[in-house]
C-alpha cells in the first residue's frame, strides 16, 4: 500500500450549508482516518475543522460519520476501505459548527440534570464493596462520551426528541448510578419522567456503534425499563406506593426540570454567520 493513495470526500461547510470536497491522501501502513484528516490539514486545507485529543480511542472527541456509519476517526483503519472512496461527514444529530465539528453542548446540559452519585451520609468511608460489584459497574463506566450512540439514536436523530429523552449515553450513566451499591437515591421516577427511558424502542443501533462495546440496550436500557415497569406498572407496587409506605424507601432523585426542556440551542449565537472572515474585517 505504500505507493497508493486514498480518495477522501470530506464535508466542508457550516450552518449555512456546505459540500463534500475531494482530497487525495498518500497511504501509510496502519493509518487511520484521523491521520488522513491531519495530513489534509497540514498539506492542503489548514482550516479544516476537526475535534480530536488523544488519538488513542480514550477521549471520544473525534466522532464522525465515515461512509455513513458513526465511528471514531482515530480507530477507523483505512485498510478497511481498500479501493473505496472514504466519505467523512460530521455527526448528523447535532447542529453543525464547521466541517466535522458539531455542537454537542446539549449532552452537557443533560448530564447536569442527573443528580450526582449520592452515598448515604452515614455510609462509612472508605467503602467496603466487592469486585463482583465492580465487574458489573465496569461496563457503564467505560463510556468515553463520544456521543456516537446519541448520534445514531433515532429518537434523537430522526425525531429530534431531545426534550423528551436523555438518549443512550445517559441511560448508561443511570445504569451506573442505579447499580452502584452505595448510591442512595431512588432514581426510577427520574429515569422514567425526566430521562424518558420509555421512548427507546430497542432497535439496538446505539450498542452497535459504541466504540467501547458497551451493551447499551441490553445492559442499560432494558434493565432500566424493567425497573421502571416494576415500580410503576406493577399493580401490587402501585398499591404500596399509594399507601405511601415509606419504610425502607430511598430518597428520590430530584425531578426538577422534568417538564419540557428547550430544544438544543447553539450556546452562543454566532456573530459571524456563514464563516464571514472576521479576521479580515
Amino acid at each position: 500500500m505504500s505507493d497508493a493513495e486514498y480518495t477522501f470526500l470530506v464535508f466542508r461547510g457550516d450552518a449555512n450549508g456546505g459540500e463534500e470536497r475531494e482530497y487525495k491522501v498518500p497511504a501509510v501502513p496502519g493509518m487511520v482516518v484521523l491521520d488522513a484528516i491531519h495530513w489534509i490539514q497540514a498539506h492542503i486545507a489548514g482550516d479544516l475543522a476537526v475535534r480530536w485529543n488523544c488519538k488513542a480511542a480514550k477521549c471520544g472527541s473525534c466522532s464522525a460519520e465515515i461512509n455513513g456509519i458513526p465511528k471514531l476517526m482515530c480507530k477507523t483503519r483505512l485498510d478497511d476501505f481498500q479501493g473505496e472512496d472514504v466519505h467523512v461527514a460530521p455527526m448528523h444529530t447535532f447542529p453543525i459548527i464547521k466541517d466535522l465539528v458539531t455542537d454537542v453542548s446539549w449532552n452537557y446540559t443533560v448530564n447536569k440534570r442527573i443528580a450526582p452519585f449520592t452515598p448515604r451520609e452515614d455510609e462509612p468511608s472508605p467503602f467496603i464493596m466487592y469486585q463482583k460489584d465492580v465487574d458489573r459497574l465496569y461496563e457503564p463506566r467505560k463510556c468515553i462520551e463520544c456521543f456516537l450512540c446519541q448520534d445514531v439514536c433515532h429518537v434523537l436523530r430522526n425525531h429530534g426528541e431531545m426534550s423528551e429523552y436523555f438518549g443512550p449515553r445517559f441511560m448508561v450513566r443511570y445504569q451506573y448510578l442505579a447499580m452502584h451499591p452505595k448510591d442512595s437515591l431512588d432514581r426510577r421516577e427520574a429515569i422514567k419522567d425526566k430521562g424518558g427511558v420509555g421512548l427507546c424502542n430497542i432497535t439496538k443501533c446505539c450498542q452497535e456503534v459504541c466504540p467501547e462495546h458497551i451493551h447499551i440496550t441490553d445492559n442499560a436500557i432494558i434493565p432500566l425499563k424493567e425497573r421502571v415497569a416494576d415500580e410503576f406498572f406493577d399493580p401490587v407496587r402501585w398499591f404500596i406506593r399509594r399507601r405511601g409506605d415509606a419504610r425502607n424507601a430511598k430518597p428520590k432523585e430530584d425531578l426538577e426540570g422534568s417538564g419540557v426542556e428547550p430544544q438544543p440551542q447553539r450556546p452562543r449565537p454566532l456573530e459571524s454567520p456563514g464563516g464571514k472572515d472576521i479576521a479580515a474585517s
Binding site: V28, P29, G30, M31, V32, D35, Q41, A42, G46, D47, L48, A49, V50, R51, W52, N53, C54, K55, A56, A57, K58, C59, G60, K75, R77, I97, K98, V101, V104, S105, Y108, N111, K112, A115, P116, F117, P119, S125, P126, F127, I128, M129, Y130, Q131, D133, V134, Y138, R141, K142, I144, D183, R268, L270, E271, S272, G275, I278, A279, A280, S281
Partner: protein
C-alpha cells in the same frame, strides 16, 4: 478598526479542566469563591483521560507495611533527590485521603477480596501501591471530578483558548484569548488564576501526549514573569507503541509490567536483568527507557526499532480483564493479540517534570495571584516521575491550590485594573498570521520543531548536538513570525496551531538551555558526555526566567532537608 471583546469575571479563574484544574475548581468553590474553568477542549477530554495504570497512595490494603514514609522515600529517590521535598512530604501524607474522597464522589476502584481498594505494583514503588480500575484509571478520575464539578457552583467555558495573562503591575488580574468556535476574543478578569494546563510533550515527535500538551499555561506564566524550574527534565516513558507508524508513541501502560509483563530484546534475552537486577522490568522509567534505547543502539532492537513486551505467558482472561484497553488498542490498531504474542515498544515522550516553580503548600508561583497545579507545576517529581504519582499529584495539589487561590482572592482588597495595551498586543499577535503574508505553515513548522527536539534533545544528550538544537529552535522562533494561515477565525485549527507553536518554541528554548547547563546525568536527563552524577549539581535546580535580554537560566540551591525527613530517607533506603 478596534474589535471589542466579551468579558467574564470570577474570583478564581482556572485554566485547564484536567484532574488538577477540576479538583482545584471544586476546592475553590467549596471555599466560597466564584469560580470559572476555561478549557481548550470539551469537558472530560483532557489528557488526564489517557492515564492508565493507577494512582499511587500508601493505603496499605495489599501490603500493610506500606506507609507515607515509604512513598516519600520512593518518590524522592525516583526523582534523584532534586524534588521539592516539602511537596513530596505533603503529597505522600495526603494521598490516601484524596483516593477515599474520589471513591465517595463515585469513583470506581478494583477491590481486594475483603472489599477494600485493590493496589497494583508499579515501577520503583517498594510496595503494591496503585489504586486502579483496570487500565482506565484516568478516565475514572476525570469522569468523577467532572460529575462532581458540574454539580458544584462552577462556570465551565469549553473550547476556549487563553493565550496571555494580563498583569496589573506585578499582579495577575486576568487572562485573554479566543473562543475556538468562532475566534471571538474574550477576557476573563480574576483576582487569582490557577494554571492547570498540563505539560509540553507535543514539542516532541514521538509522544504519548494528546494535542493539548502544548505548554500554553507554562509559557504564559513565563511571559508574565513566573520562574520555571527543572525544564531539562523530560520523561521518556519506556513503553510507547512502535508500529504501525500512525500510532508511534501511543502509550502502553506500565500496568502491563505491573501485571507481570516482561521486556525482551531480539535475542530473546530478558535484558532488564542486566540493567537493574533487583527491580528488573519494574525499575524506574528513566532506567527502563535508557535500557531499551541502549539495546536498540547496540543492535538488539525489535523489528521496528524497539523492544518486545510480552504478557502472553499469563492466562488470556486475566490479560483481558486487567488490561482491557491495551488488548483493544493492539488488536484494533496493530493487529496484535497481546494474549498470544508480544507487543513492540519503544520510549515515548510522556511527561514534563519541569514547569512553573511553586510554593509547596499553596501552589503559588513567583507572580502574585498566579498559581499552578498538576503537570504545569514543577517540584514534586524532581528528575524523574514515578508511574502512578501523577494522578495523585493532580488531586493533592489541585485541592491545595484551589483552596489557596480562593483564600488569596478573598484577602485581596486592591482594585485590579485591566491594561488595554497588553490586550492590544495580544490581539495583534493573534491576528498576525492573517496579515503577515508570510510563507510558513503552522503545522509544518510544528513538525520541524518536533524533529529538532527529538534529534537534538532526546533521550541521550550531548553538548555540541544540543548547541546545534538550540540554534535551530532560535531560528524557528524567528520563522514563526512569518506563519500564514488560511481561512477565517471560525474553528480554524491552522490558526490555533500558529499560537500553540509560539508557546512550544518558548518552552523548547527553556528545555535545551537547561539541558545544556546540567552537565551530568540524573534521572530523565542523560548526557553521553557526562554519564555520571555530579554531586554539586545534585544540590541545585535550574530556574528559567524572562529578562530584558531574553531567557536566563540560573542554578537555585536546594534548601537542606529537615532532619526528620532526612531520617525518613535513611530509614526507607533498602
Amino acid at each position: 478598526m478596534i474589535e471589542s471583546y466579551e468579558t467574564h469575571e470570577h474570583d478564581v479563574l482556572i485554566i485547564g479542566a484536567g484532574g488538577a484544574g477540576l479538583r482545584a475548581a471544586i476546592a475553590a468553590s467549596e471555599a466560597g469563591a466564584s469560580v470559572g474553568v476555561v478549557c481548550k477542549s470539551l469537558l472530560g477530554k483532557a489528557h488526564t483521560v489517557m492515564a492508565e495504570g493507577g494512582m499511587a497512595a500508601s493505603l496499605g490494603n495489599v501490603d500493610p507495611a506500606d506507609s507515607w514514609k515509604m512513598h516519600f522515600g520512593d518518590t524522592m529517590r525516583g526523582g534523584q533527590m532534586i524534588n521539592n521535598w516539602r511537596m513530596v512530604e505533603l503529597f505522600a501524607k495526603e494521598a490516601p485521603d484524596r483516593v477515599f474522597e474520589l471513591e465517595r464522589w463515585g469513583a470506581l476502584f478494583d477491590r481486594t477480596d475483603d472489599g477494600r481498594i485493590m493496589q497494583r505494583a508499579f515501577g520503583a514503588h517498594s510496595y503494591r501501591r496503585l489504586a486502579h480500575v483496570g487500565d482506565r484509571t484516568g478516565l475514572e478520575l476525570i469522569r468523577t471530578l467532572q460529575d462532581k464539578g458540574v454539580h458544584s457552583d462552577i462556570d465551565v467555558y469549553m473550547e476556549c483558548t487563553l493565550t496571555r495573562l494580563i498583569l496589573d503591575g506585578e499582579r495577575v488580574c486576568g487572562a485573554f484569548g479566543y473562543w475556538r468556535e468562532d475566534g471571538r476574543f474574550v477576557l476573563f478578569r480574576a483576582r487569582a488564576i490557577i494554571v492547570a494546563t498540563g505539560g509540553w510533550g507535543r514539542m516532541y515527535k514521538v509522544t504519548s501526549n494528546s494535542w493539548e500538551g502544548t505548554g500554553d499555561g507554562i509559557a504564559m506564566a513565563y511571559e508574565a514573569g513566573a520562574e520555571l524550574r527543572d525544564t531539562e527534565m523530560v520523561q521518556f516513558h519506556p513503553t510507547g507503541m512502535v508500529w504501525p507508524p500512525g500510532v508511534r508513541g501511543l502509550l502502553v501502560t506500565e500496568g502491563v509490567r505491573g501485571e507481570g509483563g516482561i521486556l525482551k530484546n531480539s535475542k530473546d534475552e530478558r535484558f532488564m536483568l542486566r540493567y537493574d537486577p533487583k527491580k528488573k522490568d519494574l525499575s524506574s522509567r528513566d532506567v527502563v527507557a535508557r535500557a531499551i534505547y541502549r539495546e536498540v543502539q547496540e543492535g538488539r532492537g525489535s523489528e521496528h526499532g524497539g523492544a518486545y513486551l510480552d504478557i502472553s505467558h499469563k492466562p488470556a482472561d486475566f490479560v483481558r480483564h486487567k488490561l482491557p484497553s491495551m488488548y483493544e488498542q493492539f488488536i484494533k490498531l496493530a493487529d496484535i493479540d497481546i494474549t498470544k504474542e508480544p507487543m513492540e515498544v519503544a520510549p515515548t515522550v510522556h511527561y514534563a517534570m519541569g514547569g512553573i516553580q511553586v510554593e509547596a503548600e499553596t501552589g503559588a508561583s513567583t507572580v502574585p495571584g498566579l498559581f499552578a497545579a498538576g503537570e504545569a507545576a514543577a517540584g514534586l517529581h524532581g528528575a524523574n516521575r514515578l508511574g502512578g504519582n501523577s494522578l495523585t499529584d493532580l488531586v493533592v495539589f489541585g485541592r491545595r491550590t484551589g483552596e489557596a487561590a480562593a483564600a488569596y482572592a478573598d484577602r485581596l482588597h486592591t482594585h485590579l485594573a485591566i491594561d488595554e495595551h497588553q490586550i492590544q498586543c495580544e490581539k495583534e499577535l493573534l491576528l498576525r498570521p492573517f496579515e503577515s503574508g508570510g510563507r510558513e505553515n503552522a503545522y509544518l513548522l510544528h513538525q520541524e520543531l518536533q524533529d529538532v527536539m527529538s534529534t537534538h534533545v532526546g533521550i541521550a544528550r550531548e553538548e555540541s548536538d544540543m548547541q546545534e538544537g538550540l540554534q535551530k529552535v532560535l531560528d524557528l522562533q524567528e520563522r514563526a513570525r512569518d506563519i500564514d494561515v488560511q481561512g477565517s477565525r471560525m474553528f480554524n485549527p491552522g490558526w490555533h496551531t500558529a499560537r500553540d507553536d509560539l508557546f512550544m518554541l518558548t518552552l523548547a528554548e527553556a528545555v535545551v538551555r537547561a539541558a545544556i547547563l546540567r552537565k551530568e546525568s540524573r534521572g530523565a536527563h542523560f548526557r553521553i558526555d557526562y554519564p555520571d552524577k555530579d554531586e554539586h549539581l545534585g544540590r541545585v535546580n535550574f530556574i528559567a526566567c524572562k529578562t530584558d535580554s531574553g531567557m536566563e537560566i540560573k542554578p537555585q540551591p536546594i534548601p537542606p532537608m529537615p532532619s526528620e525527613l532526612a531520617q525518613v530517607i535513611e530509614e526507607t533506603n533498602s
